[in-house]
Symmetry: C2
Subunit: 536 residues, 2 copies
């Protein structure tokens, strides 16, 4: 899997249905293709079983003699930059999603390539969002061949309809770094939307009218792509400090009036859930952490920006204060609630992967203890360790969890692909992974016999907390022992499943999936964990 | 020159004298070997002429499965770490010199390797210092085969005596990064002495009892070496922030009582020259910058920690204040005097390559506008540009300068190799390179017909300022024009030479160099600029 693999793009939208894709059952019992978009794959071998060989991807050696002596790498516009980067058919273009649904740059780049007459691009975003739905038109017209990267909403739906000319490849944030680092995905041109940048290409996300906080998702792209374009709406005097993206990796700088819609880049304020059931889940998680002894001085945890996770932080804080406890670090997705912890002295550091609201952006821009991280430091499984496995507890969501604690975060029970993996898979490495989720949604049970799409192996999921009780993975006898004298509502996951099915009036009938693959889910080590099938 | 070149180490101390080294005259007219330590070389082709081919060095892909889940990479001692790194005969061991003459780690590592019975190591320090003179014993006993890296003082002298079993290879700071990045030098084991580190290997230089400021010289080693050991005397709780060296590149952490002698790591205070002649040089440089129009709002400059450079800053400051001028950035070697500029609002930023005194260490540890840089950002010629060419003026020293403005910084006029190149070659890229030096030393003229060792091509040296007047390179008609109406003592460099020879009582007779090469001087692009010959 290492080395400079070449994607096969034949330009035919029907290639997939017709080709002779072979499938094998991997160590999780899932049927996965042995070749994806022309690249041979290793099926999932089990957690921690696969060992990579070979050396990291090696970008071309450049010479300063070919760059402006005065450091001014600005060119007129995106088209000029793409032209100077030598854009041509079949190339891989990458972008990051720190601007979330407010991003205007990635779509503009792909549309510009289309106007330039380029075809069969592989778009390799760290994630795509509903605002980028017009990429569907570019796929129909052949400008974009297919997308590799999280597809949130309409683009995922389009993929599950079997309409993409290549297989979608879903990777975690760490898996994306791994794939680039290992040479599994070679980026020809990386386009980095930057809330601040100087003419040399040093760039940062924490300042400017389009500030988004950390730019860590773009780090691998800046390091390994053949050519790198920085696009900014806030050109600052050299040096742009801090320079999370270093100009020494950047070829061209483009100044534009706007890189995105600030209102959709960060929330004004992130919202805590108001649902009584979900508040109960959050409270149970906090009580579980106390009863199990995880809540101790120097602890570390990660909680995302979802309503349940935010409420959990609010329950945890008074417990910490009461016990006189301080965290050594908390990991974001950062929000107002983590910033309050930092400012109230409840944590030494925020180690931030992405920055979700205005308070968090202000904090990362001004507080040296609010530190921007990247998938390299936090998640890359093919590094010399990463931060994820050093986190005491991680509170995550899921669309489904099965009786063996396997979980799904990418598809719904109807098979539609509507969510990316994000850092979710990477976080499973934490010392205690807690899925905090409602037992059912829209009268559809969340606890099931078998997940629609396996995104996380059950052996890594330690606890499932629902409004109807707490299920502990039988492998974690230590956790079971630690809470056995508590008053927590602990129950067997099969009991929970039965209870939920009774409430929902039985198990909803599942549509049998088709035999046409539309996407694969990669594991953190680059092996293939599962296949997403055409649903319509 | 790219790719994974293999050093030839035959263990024979006489190999060099006997082998059939071929020599060619390079574009500077200097006789240079075509093969150095078994590796074929490109002779210097002229400034900006050589274009590298191929791809960067690619370190092995690792797996987090092979590192401790709890992030604790500590091992008992240096010997254990070297053993776990698989140390064996003929390997390349690297170290950095941020601890300067106070370093205790590099020597300890090499001596430990010796006790373990290892032979023929290539020691690849970013620079070596007098405190490391005992490496001579290790070379005599065959533990260390030869040194590639700056050799200050006794080690350089030992080299010029023709006693090293391999050729010395002298590189600038940027050239060292380039050589590692391009795969010209493959580091098997990097040892990084760290004033602060956590158990995961995140490390920084700005805190701790052995604080030294920036750790930038170790960056390339941490990124490209097969194995990386961090040695610290100040183990902090995870996360060690900032983490100029990232733990994700580190294999093992060793805690020791002391990494060095603080008194020799940083000066209590750096000393301005008291010599009237040298003060006059400093003053002339400041006046030249004013008269030539370089001293304008938003200027940038680099001045090192030498007595003349420090005095220059003190002359410049009142001029800046009077004119209401603020620098956009100044580059260190940082000292108290640059810190004062930052704190008095005379510069927006200090971009710091190495940190020389206590005030500078305090500043880099606490002021976000005092930014640690590395040879990657500042000097690497095989990147997408670097900061050095964006600096308006650079004030440097030299041991000799000739009538064509070629300069020498590594040998004395007697041919003895006593100094490293440092960032000197890289700084020649600045918009105005000023050599500020006395016209003679110990009655030996500094201005000569031809330099003993060519370290910097004359076409890049714009101005020579001595106590006896200012010589402007005839190529810089713009600078000549800019000061022609000033009262500055501008004179032709040949006139200056004559004047100096009169004072010194003629040209001292030079010993004819031997025909035995002992070291080569690399240019910033990895080509061979000159040869250092045996002198005794």
């Amino acid at each position: 899997m290492s080395g400079d693999s070449k994607m096969v793009l034949d330009g035919s939208a029907t290639a997939l249905a017709e080709d002779e894709t072979e499938f094998v059952r991997n160590a999780a019992g899932r049927l996965v293709p042995t070749v994806v978009n022309g690249v041979p794959q290793v099926p999932f071998l089990g957690v921690g079983k696969y060992r990579p060989e070979g050396r990291k991807a090696a970008p071309p050696v450049r010479s300063a003699a070919d760059y402006p002596e005065d450091g001014d790498k600005r060119v007129a516009d995106i088209e000029t930059a793409l032209h100077k980067c030598g854009i041509r058919d079949g190339m891989t273009i990458s972008s990051h999603h720190h601007l979330r649904d407010g991003d205007r740059v990635a779509l503009e780049v792909l549309q510009t390539a289309g106007r330039m007459g380029v075809k069969n691009l592989r778009w390799f975003p760290s994630a795509s969002f509903p605002a980028q739905a017009p990429v569907i038109e570019l796929m129909k017209s052949g400008v974009v061949h297919h997308i590799e990267g999280s597809m949130n909403g309409p683009l995922g739906d389009y993929c599950t309809q079997g309409n993409m000319a290549g297989l979608g490849v879903l990777r975690s944030h760490g898996g994306r770094f791994q794939a680039i680092q290992d040479g599994e995905v070679h980026i020809d041109i990386a386009v980095i939307a930057a809330p601040s940048a100087d003419m040399f290409g040093n760039a940062d996300g924490s300042h400017g009218k389009s500030a988004c906080g950390s730019l860590g998702f773009a780090l691998a792209d800046s390091m390994y792509a053949d050519r790198v374009i920085v696009v900014t709406d806030n050109l600052v005097q050299f040096p742009c400090v801090p320079w999370q993206i270093q100009g020494n990796n950047v070829d061209y700088v483009v100044e534009v009036p706007s890189i995105g819609d600030p209102a959709k880049i960060v929330s004004g304020t992130t919202q805590i859930t108001r649902s009584p059931d979900r508040l109960r889940i959050s409270e149970l998680v906090a009580h579980f952490m106390k009863a199990s002894g995880i809540l101790r001085n120097g602890l570390s945890f990660q909680a995302g920006a979802g309503g349940i996770a935010l409420a959990f932080v609010q329950y945890l804080k008074p417990m910490m204060k009461e016990a006189g406890i301080k965290a050594s670090f908390v990991r974001g997705g950062s929000t107002k609630y983590l910033v309050e912890m930092l400012e109230e002295g409840l944590t030494e550091y925020i180690l931030d992967g992405q920055t979700f609201d205005l308070d968090a952006v202000r904090s990362i821009a001004s507080n040296p203890r609010h530190v921007a991280t990247s998938p390299f430091t936090s998640y890359n499984y093919h590094g010399k360790g990463n931060f994820a496995s050093m986190v005491d507890a991680c509170i995550l969501g899921a669309t489904e969890v099965d009786v063996n604690f396997n979980a799904n975060v990418v598809t719904h029970s109807d098979g539609r692909l509507l969510h990316g993996i994000g850092g979710w898979q990477n976080c499973l490495a934490s010392r205690c992974t807690i899925l905090a989720l409602p037992a059912f949604r829209d009268r559809i049970p969340v606890v099931v016999d078998e997940v629609t799409t396996l995104t996380g192996p059950g052996e890594l999921i330690d606890v499932v907390v629902t409004e109807r009780g707490i299920c502990i993975n039988p492998r974690r006898t230590d956790l079971i022992e630690s809470v056995k004298d508590s008053e927590l509502p602990v129950l067997d996951i099969r009991e929970l499943k039965k209870e939920v099915e009774t409430i929902c009036g039985g198990i909803p009938e599942k549509t049998k999936p088709s035999d046409q693959p539309v996407a694969v889910v990669k594991w953190v080590d680059g092996t293939v964990l599962d296949t997403v099938w055409k649903t319509y």
